[in-house]
Symmetry: C2
Subunit: 133 residues, 2 copies
Amino acid sequence: MERANWSRRTRQREMILREIKKLRTHPSAADIYEIVRKKLPRISLGTVYRNLEDLSRAGIIRKIRDGGTRARYDGTAAGHYHLHCQRCGRLVDLEKDPSPPVRVGPGKMDGWEITGYRLEFTGICPSCLKKKV
Amino acid sequence: MERANWSRRTRQREMILREIKKLRTHPSAADIYEIVRKKLPRISLGTVYRNLEDLSRAGIIRKIRDGGTRARYDGTAAGHYHLHCQRCGRLVDLEKDPSPPVRVGPGKMDGWEITGYRLEFTGICPSCLKKKV
DNA sequence: TTTATTAATAGTAATAATTATTATTATCAA
DNA sequence: TTGATAATAATAATTATTACTATTAATAAA
Ligand SMILES: [Mn+2]
Ligand SMILES: [Mn+2]
Ligand SMILES: [Zn+2]
Ligand SMILES: [Zn+2]
């Protein structure tokens, strides 16, 4: 988790972080813009995008790219599982940790009809490891 | 896996499918367009998008939405794991199945430095289950 | 083999999401 | 307080994807 090196604290970033942390949903940048706008009416969408990017690169929030065409953000940075509806795109936290071993077959969980899961490892690839920073 | 009901087979769709199945990479729609264009110079990008969408909805290929801003496609529909580089976005298949239980901690795998993983379940949410088709 | 039907395409326009640009503002160290 | 400049607001540009529509070609029927 490469920490961001902000040199100044701004009302915009503080507000964005505070609002996204309140939510248990996974809002898009536009969603957050609409929420923060109520407190800071002159904030710009670009500022929201930039800060969400910075905050997620700093590991303070998470950026999620699933299903649809827009990125979504998660105010809970700590690792947790998600349930993603194939039909409507709904993306919610899984309350109980199913681990390990992970259940693979279809079945019910949290009232959902589970059809499968996607497991993705993240890290640094061999060719990137070779390169100097 | 809702099967597509094509009523005609076209050279365009056949070629798109043939070419993506050859690859072990995870090309974007634009990548596939460039490849197929060499064989069918008059194919349009819209046709590539439409067919990739149809093929993945039919479960014949997979649509992957990770990391970056563009969707990527996978000619291998059967379930397998991916390794995704946080630094350069490279997305490759994991050769050996690590299952189960899934290893959680950081470490080496396939020459990569693993920093974590993302597990996502897919299915139908309770409110969608209530609704008629 | 010709012809009719219409699914699917090519070409293009429109939309949506994100990123880039730049003059202005406001944080913060001195 | 003031000065340097990080960060912002406003806007333009770009990128990815989807929508539209006249034309083409896959298939079935004659
Ligand atoms: Mn979450
Ligand atoms: Mn793959
Ligand atoms: Zn749903
Ligand atoms: Zn890499």
